[in-house]
């Protein structure tokens, strides 16, 4: 078990991170234009000093090595566009906001998704099934940047139930969380339904039926446990989606999260901020995938042998 985890970390997680950091570093540096080239013209002397201060005057490869050595200690350097702040500080400040939003959204998605899957699978190929699955399909087909404004239009501007934007009170958090969670309700509902239909034909379900258990109890207590495996392994990709999805939601609702910082950094060519966020996002996604893989293997006895 421990060997499996260590192998994952040393042969997959760490190499992936190095590759990602390297690609991003050179991609940004090879692109035309620099961080100081866009706004009002700066005198050559100041530019030289700025370049010297940020180490941009050294050879590209030296810069690369310095950078790689620094990010090992989570030191992403100073931000180019927020003078006096380090990237690590900015991430530490804004990520908890994104995390909170993501956790709410995921909770909404898991609860409603599993519920929808149960309802649909309890009577396959019926009107109930089609209706539930079609509605939850809406989450996939109506993008967040459509759903968000529409929810604001209806609940904030017309009905006046929730504030339009911001992140100060609890009522601020409801619309963004729903918007972000909607996307995953559909996926989780489909996975739950598929998993349930697969388990419902297994022998142990027949045994449960033969014991005379009511159908609802079989569905919830016996079938659901086996059916949730695909849902569990979906949580890895879902975490990735929640991160990228939060760019839009944070922009729409003006939430001071990391997603908004990243989009702003990309537009401002804030080198260190972009690098920092990309490496940080990659770190989170890869760790999450590793954790989910280990969990899936632990839960599923058939995969457990691959752990040794």
């Amino acid at each position: 078990m421990v060997r499996f985890i260590l192998k994952r970390i040393f042969f997959e997680t760490i190499p992936s991170l190095i590759v990602i950091a390297t690609i991003t570093f050179f991609l940004i540096r090879l692109a035309p234009g620099g961080p100081f080239s866009t706004e009002k013209s700066i005198s050559p002397e100041v530019l030289t000093q700025l370049n010297a201060f940020y180490g941009l005057d050294k050879h590209l490869f030296t810069q690369y090595l310095t950078y790689m050595a620094r990010i090992i200690t989570f030191d992403f350097g100073p931000s180019f566009k927020y003078p006096g702040r380090t990237v690590t500080e900015l991430i530490a400040e804004s990520f908890p906001v994104s995390l909170e939003l993501g956790v709410y959204a995921l909770c909404i998605a898991i609860v409603s998704g599993i519920l929808a899957g149960l309802i649909a699978a309890s009577k396959p190929s019926s009107l109930r099934d089609y209706l539930t699955m079609s509605i939850s399909m809406g989450g996939i087909c109506i993008p967040t940047f459509v759903m968000g404004p529409l929810l604001v239009l209806l609940f904030s501007l017309i009905l006046g139930w929730f504030p339009v934007s911001g992140w100060n009170t609890f009522s601020n958090r409801i619309l963004p969380s729903i918007t972000l969670g909607m996307v995953y309700i559909a996926y989780i509902a489909r996975l739950t339904r598929g998993g349930l239909l697969d388990t419902m034909v297994q022998d142990y379900i027949r045994t449960a039926r033969a014991k005379g258990l009511p159908e609802r109890l079989i569905l919830i207590r016996h079938a659901l446990r086996g059916a949730l495996l695909p849902v569990l392994s979906f949580l890895g990709p879902a975490a990735a989606g929640l991160i990228t999805g939060s760019f839009v939601v944070e922009t729409i609702f003006s939430i001071p999260g990391l997603g908004r910082f990243f989009v702003a950094a990309a537009f401002n060519r804030d080198y260190t901020m972009i690098m920092g966020t990309v490496v940080f996002y990659a770190f989170i996604m890869i760790s999450f995938n590793t954790i989910v893989d280990v969990l899936t293997a632990l839960v599923n006895p058939r995969l457990r042998s691959s752990l040794r």
Partner: protein, 290 residues
């Protein structure tokens, strides 16, 4: 599958699949809606007297009516016209980028699956690492740092979406590699690329079509997302993402500017997803509902 226990004469895989597909009401509805929208977009010059960038400030922000079917935006541009021309761009991006991703994905997966061994390990490890890469972020960086053009958009999106295709194709090819008809082909002395092209690829066309159909809506969504951020198609060109962004900015006063583009985009995505699901049920009976 076969209902009365007999294979009727001349039922090919494709005809069989078509029969199953037509029986699925949701996907047929999806097909009709999609064809309707595509026809409207293609026939745009015949249907409206305006061009997508024709401005008439004196009739700015007119609500839907006889003169302008879906109203106009703040600059007096006809929304119906802009939706149709935007649709052309969105569909073009969806189809071209899907084509790019299918070509890369099939070639990559087929080579990895066919040769196996070290080749396979290296190629698939690359895919694994690429999977962990936050790709939306990658596309955003590309679009910000390089000159924005439709071509770059195709390449960036296509380069992102081929990974899953490669995995699917590799799995299929590996399963087929040791089948008897492949042994027969080898025994006949066919070259490797001949076997791959003539014997293996035709056998995996089903899953490829299904996954490609499901890739189109994903790509159209990504394009709309990039355009919404201001990184995709550039104004005054029109695309559904741009229209939705413009609509969001003025939704309090002119809600139709948000609602119509949003409805058209969502309808298209719904149709494409239903068609994809229908095709999966039709072409891959193992995973169908029954």
């Amino acid at each position: 599958m076969k209902k009365n226990g007999t294979y009727s004469r001349g039922t090919s895989l494709m005809r069989d699949a078509l029969r199953r597909f037509v029986r699925n009401r949701l996907s047929v509805t999806g097909c009709i809606v999609l064809l309707f929208i595509i026809t409207l977009c293609l026939a745009a010059p015949l249907l409206t007297p305006y061009t997508y960038d024709y401005q008439n400030l004196s009739s700015g922000a007119t609500p839907p009516g006889a003169q302008h079917l879906l109203g106009t935006d703040i600059l007096g541009r006809d929304l119906f016209t802009r939706i149709l021309y935007g649709g052309r761009v969105s569909f073009a991006v969806g189809l071209c980028a899907t084509l790019v991703s299918v070509l890369i994905g099939v070639a990559w997966g087929a080579i990895a699956g066919w040769y196996g061994g070290k080749t396979d390990t290296i190629m698939m490890r690359f895919v694994d690492i690429a999977y962990a890469f936050p790709f939306t972020i990658f596309v955003i960086i590309l679009m910000v740092f390089f000159e924005r053009s439709l071509l770059l958009l195709f390449i960036a999106i296509g380069a992102v979406e081929w990974l899953t295709m490669a995995r699917i194709v590799r799995g299929q090819v590996m399963a087929l590699r040791h089948q008897e008809f492949v042994d027969a082909a080898i025994g006949l002395g066919l070259r490797q690329h001949q076997i791959l092209l003539r014997h293996i690829l035709p056998n995996i066309i089903g899953p490829v079509i299904v996954y490609a159909t499901l890739t189109i809506p994903a790509i159209m969504l990504l394009e709309a997302f990039l355009s919404y951020l201001g990184l995709g198609v550039q104004p005054p060109s029109s695309s559904w993402g741009i229209l939705i962004r413009e609509g969001t900015e003025s939704m309090e006063t002119y809600p139709w500017l948000l609602i119509f583009p949003a409805v058209v985009l969502s309808l298209t995505l719904f149709s494409l997803n239903f068609i994809g699901d229908g095709l999966r049920d039709a072409l891959d009976p193992r995973s169908s509902r029954e």
